[in-house]
């Protein structure tokens, strides 16, 4: 399972970087999305992929029972997803504005034109 996840993470990074290197705003945006997903999945797999019990703390205890799954990577990913959502929405609006203002979706042409 971890090997599969590692391959998927690597594939996501590769696709994301490839898309970002194309000369197109939309592909740039999609590349950013894939990079974010890759990072999230990386946290998930680095946190350890195990079948554990739900990490619920019994009454009177202060720690979850031994063998419980670690909830922290999921909390991190959840936060990262929320942040990623905000950032990608902003980037999408920016890309649209860039296209409207410059009339092109090729970042290289933009540099020369300004």
């Amino acid at each position: 399972m971890e090997l599969l996840l590692a391959v998927v993470v690597g594939g996501l990074y590769a696709c994301g970087l490839y898309l970002m290197l194309r000369r197109s705003l939309v592909k740039l945006l999609l590349g950013l999305v894939l990079l974010g997903h890759a990072a999230n999945l990386l946290i998930f797999s680095a946190g350890g992929v195990v079948r554990g019990e739900a990490p619920l703390v019994a009454p009177g205890e202060i720690t979850p029972p031994p063998g419980a799954a670690d909830p922290l990577p999921q909390a991190l990913i959840l936060t990262a997803i929320v942040i990623g959502f905000a950032v990608v929405s902003f980037a999408a609006v920016l890309a649209r504005r860039v296209f409207e203002v410059t009339g092109t979706d090729d970042p290289a042409a933009m540099e020369n034109g300004s």
């Binding site: 990072a39 680095a46 922290l72 902003f90 300004s114």
Partner: protein, 521 residues
Amino acid sequence: MTTGWTVLLPLLAPLAAAAAGLLAWRAPRIQAAVGIVGAGVQLATGLVLLRQVLREGVLAVQLGSWPAPFGITFAADLLGAVMVVVTGVIGLAVTVYSLADIDPGRRAFAYFPLVQVLLAGVAGAFLTGDIFNLYVCFEVLLMASFVLLALGGERAQMAGALTYVTLNLVSSALFLAGVGLTYGITRSLNMAELHLRLSLIAESRPELVLALAGVFFVAFGIKAAVFPLYTWLPASYHTPPVAVSALLAGLLTKVGVYALIRVLTLVFPPLPGAGSFLLAVASLTMVFGVLGAVAMFETRRILSFHIVSQIGYMVMGLALVGSDSPAVRTAGLAAAVLYIVHHIIVKANLFLVSGIAARLGGSFQLSKVGGLATAAPWLALLFLIPAGSLAGVPPLSGFWAKLAVVRAGLAGAAWWTVAAALGAGLLTVLSMVKIWTEAFWKPAPDTATPPPPPSRWRLALLAAPSVGLAALTVAIGLYPRPLYELSRRAAEQLLAPSSYVAAVGVATANDSAGRGGEGEP
């Protein structure tokens, strides 16, 4: 030790001001007033915090009353407190300047609350004791800076903002990946606890720790704009209004440098080869940055390239932490801290002054302006102070900062980097002289079309923050001792992380009760 809620105040003040400002969406005047109050309170609480840290040592607070590795840790050591104070100074100066500089169109889209969000993010980054929260604070300040950079939607701004947003998002994705890997390896995100665990892991798996440090170096290196990761900076910093440029130029790259210092001194144990690697990066950053500046003929572009070259001096100070001698380590790090403080004040001021010069002269293009020395002698003086300081002219703050870096470099036998620093210093003089002769000294070209001069009141608002920052530069230059002592104490604290770890109060790595398994994933 869960005293010291003062730690949170410099973060909460601008955040509250931003929220209050957003409530008054239709009233930019109120937003501006609230913004000034927010920045002022941040500065005041920063000073209170610094005083308390000086007196009591590292302060830490755990949110949610959970003990150390579980609670959300905020901690202030001397470095963090000093950086917060400087943030407050720049925040206040830029907000006042913005009153006269920012057009109504930008104000209507919550310009002032956005500045407050940025200040909150910066202060949060300086004060957090948790590496994931460092990521969150980075995102907060980045998001605000994205909007500030793109607000207004001019054509040049769009191209600049696109580069800036893309590269910073790549850097954030890398940082996030680094955080995930760190958690996978150590089962912790608390910086104090990471300090303990990573030094244990470094004994058995040094290559793992080195690779992890590499991920963080690239992520923070992009944000700090070191060679060869700096290209986004000169492509974007000259496009927004001057007030925004000054804010970004003063604070943001230095947050990256701060993160490098924090991670390399507190989180990671001493890494083999890191010192010489950083020295090489520092030399190349200084030289390439300054060469870029020499080639430019637009004031803000010249200043942007100088940010890059100046980052090199700070990294050089940090690189000396790899030295064998404790005296060199302290001197290097103290020089880096001193340099950061000096640089933030001077660089923000240079941008502010360049904005006034462009308002009076009509353009940022050096070929299109001239004669400002006779038209506005006071402005010439106002430019000479930060420009001389940046170039390292005694007795201004830059002289002492450069002297400290170079002396530490000589003591650490980093000959090539010292040579690069001195060479870059000379070229810095050259490009400051270029701005001086072109904009101030030479007669105004016939093609120059100076715009109608701004009203007296507006000019006073523009000049006041600049005068204040220039006064600080001169004060540091004339009395460098207190600030240098402060930097040295901050450096000593950074090099002996046990006080930080003790203040945060994490258990030693051996008895990690209640946490998942230790060691490798």
